[in-house]
């Protein structure tokens, strides 16, 4: 029996799903400190991938785009079985790979390969290039003869542009440049003749001058080897010409997915719009000021209610998930912005410690300090509202009054946006799919 026969190769037609992901969740548990556990406080979880459904179609380049921390790497690693899925399904060529034991997965690994971001760290410093590139064939028992192994390795190296191969084979990774190393990593990935290649920011650590060359190489290899790519990047500018489809990821979820052309021509999700506006213009004369979404990516360990993008969304409205932490952030941002101005310290003293607002609740209750009244607090909030009535936060406030010496704030009911068709793309935003 030839070892190849061990892996079934269902014939999947071009355009049919090669990888099918359904409601995939990958959580990392963060272990609390010893003291935390002593007092019975559990460490939390980071919901790095939080309910992703997605098909990677045979023969396409699917770009996975998002800011740092959005879970792109985790999604790729879950598909590759390098981290365990918490729940959900990952089907690869019809096998549910999220739940097969490692032992059975190993044979499938020949069919899916990976290129990581850091070419230096992805190569074992103790192996020569020839050993590294040839090892996959040895692991799967595909070539036992050393002479023939070396010839195959030389072919793979020349295929990725490391020619003449003899010049590189007995070098160690530390003797090669970044681009050369990444070429060796790619050679190691294609030597098994996989169908799927997960490329996790394969060029972002390389010199500007070699990035285009490596992408060109990847495009060539895709044609020659009939590959399917899951291409992870946070660079929408290169994704534009490299990808057939784009999935925009934010805090563990896909917020928009569709043909690259449609997404670039008519981005729907406010996050996609912001990302596209943030692409630096190659022509400095036409450069627009970078308009990154305001604020930072929230902590994935306790994401915002409703739409997790709402604290940064300029268009957020009633159902988007307004909550007590948004009030805290509003006040803190205001005080930071106006630090030193008259009346700011006074405001800070009036509201005192905002820790009461740190739990994600859809109502906020604030008690004034001794000698002050809730009416004063209410007046400050009203003043903030008049100063900037367009601030989306106020759309989320359903009720704001001073009752029984307390300031009471109720927000609208939060709704989680789900992916739904809108024009040519699917988008998860209440602006397009009104909550039920």
């Amino acid at each position: 029996m030839r070892p190849e026969a061990a892996v079934a190769r269902p014939d999947i037609a071009e355009g049919e799903p090669l990888v099918s992901i359904r409601d995939l969740r990958t959580y990392y548990s963060i272990r609390g400190s010893f003291a935390d556990r002593l007092v019975g406080r559990e460490g939390g979880v980071v919901k790095a991938v939080d309910g992703v459904s997605l098909d990677v179609r045979k023969g396409e380049v699917l770009g996975l785009v998002g800011e740092s921390g959005s879970g792109k790497t985790t999604l790729g690693r879950t598909i590759l079985g390098l981290v365990r899925a918490t729940s959900g399904v990952v089907e690869f060529e019809g096998h549910d790979v999220a739940h097969v034991p490692e032992r059975e997965f190993r044979a499938l690994r020949r069919r899916m390969q990976v290129v990581f971001q850091d070419p230096h760290a992805s190569l074992n410093p103790a192996m020569t290039i020839a050993q590294a590139v040839g090892h996959p064939l040895q692991i799967h028992g595909l070539e036992r003869n050393r002479e023939r192994l070396r010839i195959k390795v030389a072919e793979a190296l020349e295929r990725v542009g490391l020619a003449p191969a003899a010049q590189y084979m007995d070098k160690y990774p530390s003797d090669l440049s970044g681009g050369q190393k990444q070429r060796a990593v790619i050679a190691r990935a294609i030597i098994l003749n996989p169908v799927l290649l997960v490329a996790d920011e394969p060029v972002s650590m390389l010199d500007m001058s070699v990035r285009a060359k490596i992408l060109e190489l990847m495009a060539e290899l895709k044609r020659d080897f009939d590959l399917t790519y899951l291409y992870v990047t946070h660079d929408l500018a290169t994704a534009k010409f490299f990808c057939d489809r784009i999935a925009i990821m934010y805090l563990g979820r896909i917020v928009e997915i569709g043909d690259a052309a449609s997404i670039y021509a008519d981005p729907k999700h406010p996050y996609t719009k912001a990302l596209l506006r943030a692409i630096p213009e190659p022509d400095p004369a036409r450069a627009v000021p970078r308009d990154l979404p305001r604020g930072e990516v929230p902590d994935a360990a306790s994401p915002p209610l409703g739409c997790s993008f709402h604290p940064r969304c300029p268009l957020a409205f009633q159902p988007c998930g307004w909550e007590s932490r948004d009030l805290r952030d509003l006040l803190e941002a205001r005080w930071a912005r106006k630090a030193g101005e008259a009346g700011v310290e006074e405001e800070e003293a009036l509201f005192g410690n905002l820790d009461a607002l740190s739990a994600p609740l859809i109502s906020a209750r604030l008690t004034p300090p001794r000698g002050r009244t809730a009416a004063e607090m209410l007046a400050v909030l009203e003043r903030i509202r008049t100063e900037d009535p367009d601030e989306p936060f106020w759309k989320g406030v359903r009720r704001l009054e001073a009752v029984d010496g307390r300031l009471e704030l109720d927000f609208h009911e939060p709704h989680d946006p789900t992916l739904g068709q809108s024009g040519d793309v699917e988008v998860a935003c209440h602006l397009y799919n009104a909550p039920a």
Partner: protein
């Protein structure tokens, strides 16, 4: 930079091995002045003792337990003289013979002890660090418990228990006693390093290639972890000499009939010193000090030369130094 001689794609593997050897010794060849000086001084001293151990029957005029020659008994506590360069002991043994044969004993014990503690400590550390989990926690607990004891105490207990058993008080007993004291050290060093190497992308890449855990550990983790071991093992050898001497001094080491041992000789010489007999203690004592110094120099020299390389490699993404003559990518 490695050799730039043209290599055919059919380079035999022997050549690759040669290249690997050249690469392994590169840090030593490239080391800076002080580290290199320490290293070579250590090599010199250590090598002299090894030579002495191997050639003992040739260079020593007498055997270590010999007290007469040609039917004539050696003098008791005889001064250093033409016949006995380092004098004789109260039992009429030749001090020089005991010093020379002592090197043999030390070498045997240390080599056996190192081999045993490495072959237990390193695999345990690899497995424990790579797989983690309950096994890891249990092993760490046990090893830490052993580590918390003064190792002389552990060695004494083991030596005592074994010497009352059928094994007796020979070289093996001493080696096992020393092994028990050092296994936790290797375990710790290897395990902690594995835990950091385990997170390296090349280990993930190996898993993604479909390598079994055994292959990952052997081919991807092991080589990057063992680099730390030679300096520690050498320093440990120095330590083991002292430990063996201490055991001998306290009477738990090699029994006098089984071999010459410096620590034992020093302990016997303590009473001589007060009556002005200096040679019975001085020479074995000097031997201990010299060999320990030699091994320490060697170990520190290795440490100095290997660790900067490790440090540089870890932050290696900055040294994008291309192969000379290679096609530049951005042409």
């Amino acid at each position: 930079m490695a050799a730039t001689a043209p290599a055919s794609p059919r380079t035999p593997y022997g050549r690759a091995r040669l290249l690997a050897l050249g690469r392994a010794t590169k840090p030593i060849r490239e080391a800076s002045g002080i580290a290199r000086g320490m290293f070579w001084a250590g090599v010199g001293i250590t090598f002299a003792f090894i030579l002495m151990a191997f050639l003992a029957p040739v260079i020593s005029r007498y055997n270590f337990s010999q007290y007469k020659a040609n039917g004539v008994r050696f003098p008791q506590l005889g001064h250093p003289s033409g016949l006995h360069w380092m004098g004789t002991t109260v039992q009429s043994d030749d001090v020089m013979a005991r010093v020379i044969y002592g090197a043999q004993t030390e070498l045997k014990v240390v080599v056996i002890a190192l081999a045993m503690s490495l072959s237990i400590g390193v695999p345990l550390g690899l497995i424990s660090g790579y797989f983690g989990g309950i096994l890891d926690r249990a092993l760490v607990l046990i090893m830490d418990a052993i580590f918390a004891f003064p190792y002389l105490l552990i060695a004494i207990v083991i030596a005592f228990v074994l010497s009352t058993s059928s094994i007796g008080g020979g070289i093996f007993t001493a080696a096992i006693a020393i092994t028990a004291a050092y296994v936790p050290l290797y375990f710790r060093v290897v395990r902690n390093h594995v835990i950091s190497v385990r997170e390296e992308p090349y280990v993930d890449a190996a898993r993604a290639l479909g390598a079994r855990p055994r292959t990952v550990i052997r081919k991807y983790v092991f080589f990057n972890v063992v680099q730390n071991v030679p300096p520690i093992a050498t320093l440990n050898a120095a330590d083991a000499i002292l430990l063996l001497a201490s055991l001998g001094f306290l009477g738990y080491g090699i029994q006098p009939t089984q071999g010459a041992e410096w620590g034992y000789d020093v302990s016997r010489a303590v009473s001589d010193a007060s009556s002005g007999i200096w040679w019975t203690g001085l020479f074995p004592g000097l031997a201990i000090v010299l060999l320990v110094t030699g091994l320490t120099l060697l170990g520190e020299g290795l440490n100095e030369t290997i660790n900067p390389v490790l440090r540089r490699r870890r932050f290696g993404q900055f040294d994008f130094e291309p192969v000379p003559g290679a096609v530049e990518e951005a042409e």
